[in-house]
């Protein structure tokens, strides 16, 4: 690519080689592949396909294993050692779930409310941050990037203890708003990282072309930029949602017992001994996350989205 005299705009962008649809150029890099059909080291050569597939199946099995007893427990009326399967099956745990007294539905609603708000806010804040980190080069960038990432690497315990009395003073302790606020701490970094990754593979030339064809900056953003970074937004939202949905410690500290999310329900139940109910609630906690994961699975496959996570 010629044109080394330019930056395209007045900041100095990082030269990026890939647009989101590089199919036109792909044919160019397979010159030697006819010589060596298996050119990339993968287990394709070490193992015949059947062995490989069974290995993968084994891994999947191991990963899914802990769910088995959970599933069984949720339908069991008392399942004591050394029984391999419960003697009596029942639906009562699931029924109890739906009743208000178990506070499970309340937990689901609270978790959902918090997670959705957290995701939306971190998206709002993470988009410009991701753009700056992914497209631009500027003094102090590595430091600022690191600062942005501290909440996910450093334990929030000290921070929580530190801001607790401020939150109490501000009247945010025990409120939904307060919990959403602290949930932003771990979600913003992940959102920014994913968006930075997507932006670093984004060719600003698309925006320039669109401007040249008569699109105002707002139109450029909504018609061109947004659709092209949509996979990144999907994955970032997935991460943010999951983090908030699964968050225990932060909610525990700031919720002061008044904000009752699903993890809180689970934790409380764990102090008791009703394994069946625990199992049912545990399974329930997993469902929205799994749905979200399936929906965004296509976007997760896009290496442009996640490749940048490997560049922290």
């Amino acid at each position: 690519m010629a044109n080394d005299e330019r930056p395209i705009a007045d900041y100095a962008p990082i030269p990026h080689p890939v647009s989101l649809s590089p199919r036109l150029e792909v044919g160019a890099f397979q010159p030697l592949s006819y010589l060596m059909p298996l050119s990339e080291p993968s287990f394709r050569e070490f193992m015949p396909p059947n062995l490989r597939h069974s290995f993968i199946a084994l891994v999947m099995l191991v990963l899914l294993l802990p769910f088995l007893p959970l599933l069984i427990w949720s339908f069991a009326q008392g399942w004591f050692s050394p029984q391999l399967v419960p003697q009596t099956w029942t639906l009562e745990h699931w029924q109890q779930l739906l009743m208000g007294s178990s506070r499970v539905l309340e937990g689901v609603m609270q978790s959902l409310a918090i997670a959705l708000r957290t995701t939306a806010l971190s998206l709002l804040v993470g988009l410009p941050a991701g753009r700056a980190l992914g497209l631009m080069d500027f003094p102090g960038k590595p430091l600022l990037k690191l600062l942005l990432l501290t909440p996910i690497i450093v334990s929030p315990l000290a921070t929580l203890m530190g801001i607790q009395f401020v939150l109490i003073r501000l009247g945010l302790s025990g409120t939904l708003a307060g919990v959403v606020l602290v949930h932003l701490m771990p979600t913003i970094p992940y959102m920014s990282l994913v968006l930075a990754s997507v932006f670093s593979n984004f060719d600003v030339g698309y925006e320039i072309q669109a401007r040249s064809l008569g699109a105002s900056p707002l139109k450029v953003f909504s018609q061109i930029t947004l659709p092209l970074i949509a996979p990144g937004i999907a994955v970032g939202s997935l991460f943010a949602f999951l983090i908030s949905w699964n968050e225990f410690l932060l909610t525990f500290f700031v919720g002061a017992g008044r904000v009752f999310t699903l993890p809180m329900v689970l934790f409380t139940l764990l102090q008791g001994g009703n394994n069946g109910l625990i199992a049912a609630v545990a399974i329930t906690s997993v469902v929205p996350g799994l749905i979200f994961l399936l929906v965004t699975s296509k976007a997760l496959q896009n290496e442009a989205t996640l490749g940048g996570l490997g560049g922290v």
Binding site: N3, D10, L20, R23, L24, G205, S212, G214, A215
Partner: protein
């Protein structure tokens, strides 16, 4: 007054001066090439005209309207970037109709017009395809269609042919010229390939290091380049120091030639390789010298000969490809007086800007 007028354009990037004091004057309906090596500031100039970059000083006018304060989308200028850059999430038809959509044209009209323009670039029926299904040449054509559909006052092309295979380049050159003939749109083409510029343009503006060196017709750049850098960039190869005494120039190696243009003092003489005549027997008495063939190369359209005169002066001649020559063959070269060109010796920066044509 021209259609596109640039005056005193300057652009600085942090420490480098990308464009210095540029001025340009393009007549309506003309094709002008901005030609120069990588880093000479031509793409920067293009981006300033398109509105992507703001110049530090200077003004730009299109059809009498001052461009500087106008944002890119309102400038009535279409920019086609080197990489084509068809929006991957839109179909070919939607890509082409994009400019119309931005102008608020309704869907039915948009689609009709898009189909019509696709027909003009010989991609009829491609409207429903995705950009990823197109070849490089097809994508470039769609990019052209996308810009022409909005009937811009000025079309800017950034290295339109450099990403294409050699055989596609010919086709694309023809297409650009044909579209230009059909629409009459004023075009500014940026390129680093002098052969490309020569084929496409009515006039060429040659830039080195951010400054305009010469602006002239292609013929003038070949035959009357303003300095040695320009001559070399345009593919010239024969350069000899000499002393000029009016019409008679004495080369440093001793030969004496008669030229059409009188000069005095120290000069650098040049003659284009295509103009050097090579024959078995001397064909005239003027500027004729005995020479020996040192090497020859067949390029398909020419035969490139390297010849050495008795004084050890080495000359290149590009002749008719049909005849084969033998190494060490003794021949006669003739340097037509009208083809001899000279520069004053000295630093190119001291030369006044050559403006001709």
């Amino acid at each position: 007054m021209g259609y596109l007028v640039l005056q005193n354009l300057t652009k600085r990037f942090r420490t480098t001066l990308a464009v210095q004091d540029l001025w340009l004057d393009v007549q309506p309906g003309q094709i002008l090439s901005l030609l120069g090596p990588s880093g000479c500031g031509k793409s920067t100039t293009l981006q300033m005209i398109a509105g992507i970059l703001q110049p530090d000083t200077g003004s730009m006018e299109l059809d009498g309207t001052r461009l500087n304060p106008i944002p890119p989308e309102k400038r009535d200028i279409a920019l086609v970037l080197q990489r084509g850059l068809l929006f991957p999430h839109l179909s070919v038809g939607e890509n082409v109709a994009f400019g119309l959509k931005m102008r608020g044209i309704n869907r039915v009209d948009r689609e009709t017009q898009a189909q019509e323009v696709l027909r003009q670039v010989q991609l009829e029926g491609f409207g429903d395809r995705k950009p990823s299904e197109l070849s490089g040449g097809q994508a470039q054509r769609v990019a052209l269609a996308r810009s022409l559909i909005i009937q811009p006052k000025l079309l800017l092309l950034d290295e339109p042919l450099s990403a294409l295979d050699a055989n596609l380049r010919e086709e694309m050159q023809d297409l650009i010229l044909r579209l230009h003939a059909q629409t009459g749109v004023t075009m500014l083409v940026v390129t680093h390939d002098q052969a490309e510029a020569v084929v496409l343009s009515d006039r060429i503006a040659l830039m080195f290091a951010g400054r305009l060196r010469q602006i002239a017709t292609p013929e003038a750049l070949y035959q009357t380049p303003c300095d040695e850098d320009t001559a070399r960039f345009m593919g010239g190869v024969n350069f000899f120091p000499a002393q000029a005494q009016g019409h008679r120039w004495v080369l440093a190696t001793g030969e004496s030639v008669m030229s059409d243009r009188p000069q005095t003092g120290s000069i650098q003489v040049t003659i284009r390789p295509e103009q050097v005549r090579v024959s078995d027997h001397p064909t005239s008495t003027e500027n004729t010298f005995a020479a020996k063939i040192m090497s020859q190369r067949f390029t398909g359209t020419q035969r490139r000969l390297t010849l050495s005169l008795s004084s050890e002066l080495v000359l290149q001649a590009w002749v008719n490809p049909n005849r084969d020559w033998a190494i060490a063959q003794e021949v006669w070269v003739q340097l037509p007086a009208s083809a001899l060109w000279s520069f004053p010796c000295g630093h190119p920066a001291d030369l006044p800007l050559g403006v001709s044509g």
